[in-house]
């Protein structure tokens, strides 16, 4: 058995040994809460007019998250309807020491939003759009709303949100807590950076308005705070006029070249949307898209020649030549052809195109993600790095993928930073890499599981190897928490984690809000 370092042994939240390097047995679930005080807690809430649903039918919907690996049935569910109800619930939870796990879309993949035997607070009960300010381009909304539903309301007025996960069923509150990366994040940063003001219920049950001007400390802690410092019930977000987008694909047979071109284009701010999607190690797709024809023209005049990617025909010829010289790789060639035949049309479906431009990019990408990568289990470990470390981290992660799975996709994006770690304390202990300046980069490593039955240990070992790259290279993770709790201390160091732990203990004396996510 590997001996734990002293600093970890002595820390108040010791790292689960299962997630340490070289330890073969892997943990997939935090332990289940023992239920002490539950009855009294429920009775107190009932006496205040709050119903906790304890039926199996209700609870079953919350047994797992988007990852489908961590499993935990809550003891009861509260569908949030008002900040007051949440405040009453959190006050009682402090009193009876009942853990409360908050859930929006539930699309975490490491069990962060799951309640392991305690109270599940479902924020989607608060999904109303409160006010759209068409003049100042802001929206005030309840935070349980799905981004897609928000987009539905905005689009009727020719408006759109700025950046959100390419997934229609993530919620505003859940996303502001974890980051939220879109293919326009190189331009607009993460979703959390679109927040102007929040209404938050603190872990001790105070309802507080916060923004960059008011209760700033709370605002900075709740954004990118993994639900540790409060429940977001309302958010004011920046919005923008809706524009259809023009998409171009450039193809690479070298991962490093594609990553270097992505960095180059991100840092030159050469496009409105940028991302890498790999099909095979030697077939990589760089997505470049534009909100305006002017930006598109500028790209072709100024940057196209400076990147190495092929157009579709050029790449087809290149690959044909490659496979002619390597005929024994015919299976790979067929896989690639099939992938291209099935995936690419999905990215430009006729119902979502207008004069060659994509409308509803989130619908298009989200449907494609679920269709091609989705399933009951989704394993998406990721790394978030500075510009300098990105290519190496991606290559190392790709190497791990190759050892574990026959087919996988890497999805790489850039993330613009607005200000430094000093001016934006929200970036500290978050998906934003500690050594990033101006831009951070993220890469998801996503095996295509198909109908294979892999063991949980296989998945966990794979994830650990990816996360270990982060520890070795001193990166961050663009979604972290839950089952990778142990990594956070190792990746960020004792000093920073202890600082946040002290803040958490002060804000949440009974440590009941979203336990086991970070602390």
């Amino acid at each position: 058995m590997t001996e734990l370092p002293q600093s970890i042994k002595n820390s108040p939240d010791p790292v689960p040994p299962d997630s340490l390097k070289g330890v073969p047995r892997q943990q997939t679930n935090p332990s289940r809460w023992n239920g002490d005080g539950w009855e009294a807690f429920v009775a107190e809430l009932v006496s205040q007019g709050i119903t906790i649903n304890q039926g199996l039918a209700n609870r079953s919907g919350y047994i797992t998250d988007g990852g489908g690996i961590a499993m935990g049935l809550p003891r009861g569910v509260l569908v949030a309807r008002s900040p007051e109800d949440i405040a009453t619930t959190l006050k009682a939870a402090q009193k009876y020491k009942v853990p409360v796990s908050v859930r929006g879309g539930g699309l975490t993949t490491e069990g962060e939003c799951i309640s392991f035997g305690a109270l599940q607070l479902d924020m989607r009960g608060m999904s109303n759009v409160i006010h759209i300010d068409e003049t100042n381009l802001t929206v005030r909304t309840e935070a349980g709303i799905y981004w897609h539903s928000l987009a539905e309301a905005l689009r009727r007025r020719g408006l759109d949100y700025i950046s959100a996960p390419l997934n229609m069923t993530s919620s505003v509150g859940g996303t502001l807590g974890v980051g939220g990366i879109d293919i326009n994040s190189p331009k607009f940063g993460c979703s959390a950076d679109q927040a102007i003001a929040l209404r938050v219920v603190t872990p001790t049950g105070e309802i507080v308005e916060c923004s960059e001007q008011e209760n700033t400390e709370l605002f900075e802690r709740v954004l990118l705070g993994y639900g540790q410092f409060g429940v977001i019930t309302e958010a004011t977000l920046k919005i923008r006029p809706f524009t259809p987008i023009t998409m171009h694909y450039f193809y690479y047979s070298s991962l490093r070249e594609s990553v270097e071109d992505l960095r180059f284009l991100v840092e030159e701010e050469a496009a409105d949307y940028l991302g890498i999607l790999t099909m095979l190690d030697r077939a990589i797709n760089l997505l470049v898209a534009f909100d305006s024809d002017e930006k598109e023209r500028e790209f072709f005049n100024k940057y196209r020649k400076r990147i190495k990617g092929h157009g579709e025909i050029g790449f087809a010829l290149h690959m044909a030549a490659h496979y002619a010289l390597h005929p024994w790789r015919v299976k790979e060639a067929l896989y690639l052809l099939e992938r291209k035949r099935s995936l690419l049309p999905e990215l430009s479906p006729p119902g979502h195109m207008q004069e060659g431009k994509i409308i509803d990019r989130t619908v298009v990408f989200s449907r494609a993600v679920w269709k091609f990568w989705g399933g009951k289990k989704m394993i998406i470990p990721d790394l978030a790095t500075s510009s300098e470390k990105f290519a190496e981290a991606v290559e190392k992660g790709n190497e791990v993928c190759r050892r574990y799975f026959p087919h996988y996709t890497l999805y790489c994006v850039g993330i613009k930073l607005f200000g430094s770690f000093e001016s934006r304390p929200r970036y500290e202990l978050s998906c934003i890499p500690p050594d990033a300046h101006d831009f951070g980069y993220g890469c998801e490593f996503e095996p295509m599981l198909g109908n294979h039955n892999y063991s949980r240990d296989h998945f966990q070992s794979f994830k650990n190897e990816i996360y270990d790259i982060g520890v070795d290279m001193g990166t961050s993770y663009y979604r972290f928490g839950g089952m990778m709790k142990g990594y956070i201390r190792r990746a960020f160091g004792d000093e920073l984690v202890d600082k946040h732990l002290a803040m958490k203990q002060k804000a949440d004396p009974a440590m009941i809000l979203n336990p086991d996510v970070i602390f």
Partner: protein, 320 residues
């Protein structure tokens, strides 16, 4: 696993079907949605525990159009309804007339269309389709009512009825749920099966009368339960005419709730008023065109000063 009911176990909880669900939009209670039912059953809940959810569903088909796993959500919900409302199992079926039809095309109306004599006459005239003259209408109306409570007749039971349809070139069906059922039973190769709105929109006089300032209300069941075929057709109509439609961002038709069967609903059944508010919110238009007769009254009540017309009326006063 529930005997005879399967498909729900494929649900991965992605939630895409929740987004357009009218019950979701009006309650934000996930157990009342199809995904909620599927997850509850996966978790071992008893069918009784999801009764409210099963009965509240308006069978609009939005969840089926959205499902990332291609689950036949409406079939499952109907089977759950049948299992819950066990008294429907012994439903007697009326006798149908088995005589051969001489027409090449027929219209299978629903109760609302039959009751609206003016629109019925206009529709049959425009489509140049006679109404079936025998008693198949009675059978149809009987079936339509029973369908929603979960009674699905075996194909053999309707053999004569289907045998007659199969010989036709085209069947135009006003009820979306019935259209889905018939489509599943009759091979498309021989008989074209269309919704009423779609059949009318194929007439140039009607399509050309649509304007960019129109809001066109598709009958949601007919469209959503035949999504792959209908979505491109209506997208084309919308882009050719410029008219707006009651589609959401996934291109799923937002139901008005006009088809709600009062026999099945419960306190959680979504209200038409809420649906119509959602359809109209933030949209500007100077005429509303509807496919479904039930929607005429609903929309007239909801908007003041804007004409509401049935799609058949677009052909003009002297069409016949």
């Amino acid at each position: 696993m529930l005997p005879g009911i399967n498909g729900y176990e494929k649900c991965n909880g992605c939630g895409l079907c929740t987004l357009p669900c009218p019950i979701w939009r009006q309650s934000y209670d996930s157990l009342l949605t199809f995904a909620g039912r599927a997850r509850a059953l996966q978790g071992g809940a008893k069918i009784e525990e999801i009764r409210n959810s099963v009965d509240a569903c308006i069978l609009c088909g939005s969840c089926e159009a959205a499902c990332s796993m291609g689950i036949r959500t409406v079939d499952i919900t109907l089977k759950l309804r049948a299992a819950i409302n066990k008294n429907n199992e012994e439903m007697p079926i009326q006798r149908y007339n088995d005589q051969a039809l001489t027409e090449t095309t027929i219209l299978l109306p629903n109760a609302a269309l039959l009751a609206d004599k003016k629109t019925l006459k206009l529709t049959t005239g425009l489509l140049n389709i006679p109404l079936a003259k025998d008693n198949s209408q009675d059978i149809l109306l009987f079936l339509l009512k029973k369908f929603e409570v979960g009674f699905i007749p075996e194909a053999e039971m309707l053999e004569g009825f289907l045998r007659r349809l199969i010989r036709l070139r085209q069947v135009v069906i006003a009820d979306g749920l019935f259209k889905r059922y018939i489509r599943a039973l009759i091979p498309e190769l021989h008989t074209e099966i269309l919704g009423l709105g779609e059949a009318l929109l194929r007439l140039p006089a009607i399509k050309n009368a649509l304007k960019p300032t129109d809001l066109y209300i598709i009958e949601a069941r007919s469209y959503n339960m035949d999504f792959k075929r209908c979505m491109p057709f209506y997208t084309e109509i919308s882009s050719q005419t410029g008219c707006r439609m009651n589609l959401d961002l996934q291109r799923i038709a937002i139901p008005t709730g006009g088809c709600i069967n009062t026999e099945t609903g419960n306190e959680f059944t979504p209200k038409s008023t809420g649906q119509i508010r959602w359809i109209l919110e933030g949209r500007s238009f100077d005429r509303i065109v509807v496919e479904s007769v039930e929607d005429i009254g609903l929309l007239k009540n909801a908007v003041v000063g804007v004409p509401v017309v049935h799609v058949a009326e677009l052909a003009g006063e002297n069409a016949l």
